[in-house]
Symmetry: C2
Subunit: 281 residues, 2 copies
């Protein structure tokens, strides 16, 4: 692992790292913030999954998470959203919602994406092992959050990996990819047209099929230009209500889809995670 | 004035605006954050001047000032650091420390820069009039801060415009441009070799020549790669001590020159400004 950047920030350290990933067959870049802490202590870990077009850099620069992480004693890891590099196939049309920056947190099975687009395995298995090895991380205390496509990733990972994450939250997540254009395009391209497979990567379907978390927090701006066509939080609210899955869905008046929205509520989310991570198990 | 972007953030509104500047003879872009406030109230204004290579965007995206501005009721204005556009001459060598992104907060008098590089007039006169007209700004309560080259701008403007600014602070400022390579190169190029003129744009010289503020706050990281050659805060500390100018200079261990440093201490600075802006005059 190479440390590309290392900056003291809010008394802790913000790093940007690159490593050769066996999951994706490429170099992968991620960022990690380690708050100030006593030598020898191991700290809870919050995973932050980013949205379409983003890399680790967007939340690292614009997410405003370091103050709260420093106060609460949380490590925050921000992975990339797809494999990168000259050998990695991109969408031939060059669209922003497929290919580079748009891995959708699945393991692709279809050509030409299957070789490198293995973001589920990368984030579920490979990167946690690296974080545990390289950082003072207590892997018994993990939680996960994300924005937009990354909200989809956070919800599906938390709902499927029972017991892995003590908390999950999302900013303007894609909750029903099987029912919206972004998700349908990605799933058809990466994993084909088997709709039963899609259900394993769809938060609404996972809740319908019995997956559960103790509770879920979602913030959604009502001035988000993707709200009506791509995000549809009402589908998730209805599924959770039918299933008895606790959900706190907050519609935030005037807020859009940008990091001006995410940063506003970041400390709220981190406090909510800390409440579930920092008590005794 | 055109509003290029407008986002709700921390209950207020972050805008990015463009207008035709008579000072620079170009379009100029700036950002302004207006915190949540009651209708009809006018709010104190903090000016934030940015460093070399920056535009309004760096602090707007990475500065982490909105939470504190919202809590304290402060407007924050972030101008650009030079004129921009195809007609604007840049350094023929393309260096980062002269020309575009490097206006050094002076009115240039030398060819080919004199026509457009008039950042002192733009920030001292033209932009405040626009802000007063377009925003709920109380121009009787202004303060100024900046980073690096922008710290130089903030210190020199506060020291020269007696009574304009109730507070001034800086992150890793250029305090003695006449004595360091960045400043010497810029001053020779923009305003020629009359050293008496340089003293009007040099915080150390201004304090030596009798300019005063009630107090000054400076934060400086001790891992800043520009510290020894370009920043030299010890020169300002010595000048302030000789002159009886109150100065709080904090050397922050481990911090570098980046926005990871600026954002860490931004709320500190804004609280310090608010203490001087929000009481009765």
């Amino acid at each position: 692992m190479d440390i590309l950047e290392s900056h003291v920030a809010f008394g802790g350290r913000q790093e940007v790292c690159r490593h050769a990933s066996s999951s994706t067959g490429t170099d992968m870049t991620f960022s990690v913030y380690v708050p100030p802490h006593e030598e020898g202590v191991r700290l809870p870990v919050v995973w932050y999954l980013s949205g379409l077009t983003c890399s680790h850099a967007n939340v690292t620069e614009k997410g405003e998470y370091r103050r709260a992480c420093a106060e609460l004693g949380l490590i925050l890891v921000a992975p990339d959203t797809s494999p990168r590099g000259n050998d990695v196939p991109d969408d031939p049309q060059g669209s922003y919602d497929l290919g580079l920056g748009a891995g959708f947190y699945v393991d692709a099975t279809r050509s030409p994406y299957a070789q490198h687009y293995r973001m589920w395995s990368y984030i579920a298995d490979e990167l946690p092992a690296l974080i545990e090895r390289e950082y003072p991380a207590d892997m018994q205390r993990q939680s996960i959050m994300g924005h937009s496509m990354g909200g989809h990733g956070a919800l599906t990972m938390a709902l499927r990996m029972t017991g892995r994450f003590r908390a999950v939250s999302a900013f303007s997540p894609i909750v029903a990819p099987s029912q919206v254009p972004w998700g349908q395009k990605a799933f058809e391209t990466y994993i084909g047209d088997d709709r039963e497979l899609w259900r394993r990567h769809d938060a609404v379907a996972l809740v319908e099929d019995g997956a559960r978390m103790p509770d879920i927090l979602i913030d959604q701006g009502d001035a988000d230009s993707f709200l009506a066509e791509q995000l549809k939080p009402e589908l998730f609210a209805a599924a959770c209500q039918r299933a008895g899955q606790p959900l706190t869905l907050r519609i935030q008046p005037g807020y859009d889809h940008s990091y001006y929205f995410v940063s506003t509520f970041m400390a709220d989310h981190l406090n909510w995670h800390a409440d579930r991570l920092c008590d005794a198990p």
